[in-house]
């Protein structure tokens, strides 16, 4: 279970990334954030976001029509 859950369903690029960044700021180092998104572009974008910012993309999967990302705040 993630420390924080961000519902970004229905939002389009770049809002899921921007909201995730904001949420990560509120998390202590090592904390985990679950992002739920419906934007198919989010998959590639969250991978790129995590690689660039040094946060860890622990895993991502699909839950019905929703993309679920688990990010650890390691930045």
């Amino acid at each position: 279970m993630a420390d924080m859950i961000l519902d970004a369903k229905g939002l389009n690029c770049p809002l899921p990334i921007l909201r995730a960044k904001k949420a990560l700021k509120e998390l202590p180092s090592g904390g985990t954030l679950e992002v739920q998104a419906t934007d198919p572009g989010a998959v590639k974008d969250f991978e790129a976001f995590c690689r660039t910012t040094g946060n860890e993309l622990v895993e991502h999967h699909m839950d019905g029509n929703t993309y679920v990302f688990l990010i650890r705040h390691t930045g």
Binding site: G10, L11, N12, C13, P14, L15, I17, L18, A20, K21, L24, S29, D39, A48, F49, T52, T53, G54, N55, T74, G75
Partner: protein, 164 residues
């Protein structure tokens, strides 16, 4: 923290002031800022309108045959002769604003607020202000006012420089 000091930087020259062309600079600026880059936006010519307190952005299909609106599962383009008629631009703008809402795309106002919140450095072009008689008080508070040299200085130190 790593995500605060990526040490990379990006500058964007923003030259266009229509609803459609307002998107690329603000999307890239906010995203780059979220990814830890220092971002500078230089607003010049029609791009300067994007700094106005009162954003009243429009879009026209006139002279833009590439602009097709999704409609009932199809795509519709407007012939130039119709796009030139009075009210055509207002109609197109309304259609686009409805699409933006429906598809969960941020408004320009929202992206601009997010850019300011993310400390994106904004520079308003002094020459454009003089040329089009745009007063400092017509624009939002944040941006500084400068000229080409201000951008060149930033650009020489930036990893990415874009002209939009």
């Amino acid at each position: 923290m790593l995500d605060e000091t990526n040490a990379k930087s990006m500058s964007i020259i923003v030259t266009k002031g229509t609803l459609d062309w307002a998107y690329p600079p603000f999307i890239l600026a906010t995203t780059a800022a979220a990814m830890g880059l220092d971002v500078t936006m230089f607003f010049t010519f029609y791009g300067l309108h994007l700094l106005k307190k009162d954003l009243n952005l429009k879009v026209s299909t006139l002279g833009n045959p590439g602009m097709e609106m999704p409609m009932g599962g199809m795509h519709m383009a407007m012939p130039n002769i119709m796009a030139a008629l009075p009210g055509a631009s207002a109609l197109t703008t309304n259609m686009m604003k409805n699409l933006i809402k429906k598809k969960g795309v941020a408004s320009i106002q929202e992206l601009r607020d997010l850019a300011i919140e993310a400390d994106v450095n904004m520079i308003a072009c002094q020459m454009t202000m003089d040329l089009f008689e745009i007063k400092r008080e017509d624009m939002i508070d944040g941006p500084s006012v400068g000229g080409a040299a201000s951008w060149v200085e930033v650009a020489t130190k930036s990893d990415i420089n874009l002209y939009i």
